[in-house]
């Protein structure tokens, strides 16, 4: 039993990582290498030339800055809104609490595409198209984030909270000074997830931004792709560069990401 399971997991991890590894491999090839049949798995003579060229062709600094602003702001924003809402849903009593939460959960079932048009119309109405506020504002609240934070607040023991109440902490102090630090692992998880999610955000930035000046990573990559459609190694080098931050975050934050998936899994099952 165990060995079939191991074999299955092994195959799965190969299937998942193979495209990435191949992406890196191709990015190190010369332009003509891929034209041979069968296409080679590894570069004959690895070269970093593609990277240099990709760096020169992309407005790299600007794209990274835009993406970092988007991902950074959304990360902070989602952590704050999710933590506050999650805390309220988990620990405060107010009429309609569970009904409102159920309504939030229900929105998870709506396809994201459905919301794109109304969101665009709203942003357009306030004149934020092709600006940072337009790019960022609609991403600041995440239902999954709220679910994650609610669940982790529910899992915290009551006694520390009660000790703080006896010590004289008010509701805000309780949230900010006592509960939020206790929920730190979940906060970190949520921050990482939000960051990675936004770094790979494509559809919304594509719709709400127009100028090249406002392009974020995925959008720039797509443009790059249409410009150099014949040169695969070149494109792969650009792709590696653009996804590098996500890889790093993934590597460093592994522990927290796993935990986040476990918590939200438990929450959604409830």
């Amino acid at each position: 039993m165990l060995s079939t399971r191991k074999l299955g997991l092994g195959l799965l991890s190969v299937a998942v990582s193979a495209p990435f590894l191949y992406m890196v491999s191709v990015s190190l090839m010369g332009e003509s290498e891929l034209l041979r049949w069968p296409p080679p798995l590894l570069p004959q003579k690895p070269t970093f030339g593609n990277y240099a060229a990709a760096l020169a062709a992309l407005p790299y600094a600007k794209v990274f800055l835009n993406t970092a602003i988007l991902a950074g702001c959304v990360m902070v924003g989602q952590v704050l809104t999710s933590a506050a809402a999650g805390y309220a849903f988990a620990r405060m009593r107010f009429p309609g609490r569970d009904g409102i939460f159920a309504a939030f959960l229900a929105t998870l079932m709506l396809p994201a595409m459905l919301l794109v048009i109304p969101r665009f119309l709203l942003v357009n109405a306030v004149g934020w198209v092709d600006t940072y506020p337009g790019l960022i504002s609609t991403e600041l609240v995440s239902v999954l984030g709220i679910v994650l934070m609610r669940q982790s607040f529910l899992m915290l023991p009551r006694d520390v909270e009660e000790a703080a109440r006896l010590d004289g902490a008010g509701e805000w102090t309780l949230f900010w000074r006592v509960m939020l630090p206790l929920a730190r692992p979940a906060v970190i998880t949520l921050a990482l997830l939000a960051f990675m999610d936004q770094w790979r955000n494509f559809l919304w930035p594509l719709i709400v931004t127009r100028s090249a000046d406002m392009a974020v990573a995925e959008v720039a990559l797509a443009q790059f792709h249409s410009t150099y459609s014949g040169n695969w190694p070149y494109q792969m080098a650009a792709a590696v560069l653009v996804t590098l931050p996500v890889w790093l975050v993934c590597l460093i934050g592994q522990r927290y990401l796993m935990q986040g998936w476990r918590i939200t899994g438990a929450a959604v099952r409830l």
């Binding site: 023991p157 006694d159 000790a163 109440r165 006896l166 010590d167 004289g168 902490a169 630090p181």
Partner: protein
Amino acid sequence: MASVTLRRLSKVFDGGVQALHHLDLDVRDGELLVLLGPSGSGKTTVLRCIAGLEEPTTGEVVIGERVVTHDSPAERDVAMVFQSQALYPYLTVRENIAFPLEMRGLAHAQATRRVLETATRLGLQSVLDRLPSQLSEGERQRAALGRAIVRGPQVFLLDEPLARLDAPLRIELRAEVLALHRAIAATMIYVTHDQAEAMTMGQRIAVLHEGRLRQVGTPEEVYQRPADVHVARFFGTPGMNVLQGRGRAGDKGRVIEAGSLVIPVELSTYEGELQLGIRPEYVGLCAVDQGVGNVDVLVVEPLGSETLVHLNAGGQPLVARLPGFADVRVGTRVGVKVDRRRLYLFDAAGAPVA
């Protein structure tokens, strides 16, 4: 400082569990009252109602002159040491102790001084900058005490603060809590399920059983004059023997028959079901047929200063506590003597029979 009064306090939890039944309790100003009861008897619930963490279903909580039944915990000026300590895990000992002062907006310099005083009193100076996870169990418990006493509240509630410690440390900290009580002359309610601890600590002991307050009295009172059979069983190591029996008229006056024992008593009227209580120290052994009945020896436990002998009295367990090393063999049959002035009689429901 202030007194604490509970009036007809009842608590029914959401699931329908009635944890407390009409509790009336008066804790005097500056007193150390021990609240004693077995696990699940409602001790924590009493403390939580006093602290304001639980709203009583009916009844009142009065602190000093004020009825505080519906006040928030912060308004009550009560400190509690939790069964689980409940220190802030990401704050150092210093920050943990300072937290209540900070919440009350004490000036920084003054707070620093108070924290140091408290830490010194509890021997925590050398660990002030450690996190709770870096402390020993005893130090953690001291830190929890420190956080409770630092702001000098009107009332201290301690929920089994020493239950997690090993025996020597428990004795050491018990003495410290007593010294602390004397030094700050505070009103303290100290919860424990350990009757020996209750006896050594309490000026008065309140005995809780299944959510009902059975007796409130000095250690001597609850030991010598238990208000019912539960209290009687609870005190002493081992606790009082309780035999199920019947009272009837015998050849030479009234007797109680309990298992294989027939004990003459001066009961003028009582007939029918009775519970007979005898503390192990007042059960003696003698030759067969010389006492009030014969019993079989089941287990002999020599403890050095005394020997516990577990007996079978016609199907009912009976423990005798004999001085020194007693010459008793397992499997033999012996006679039993009882000190008749030391008998306790309870009716079938457990109330004392006069």
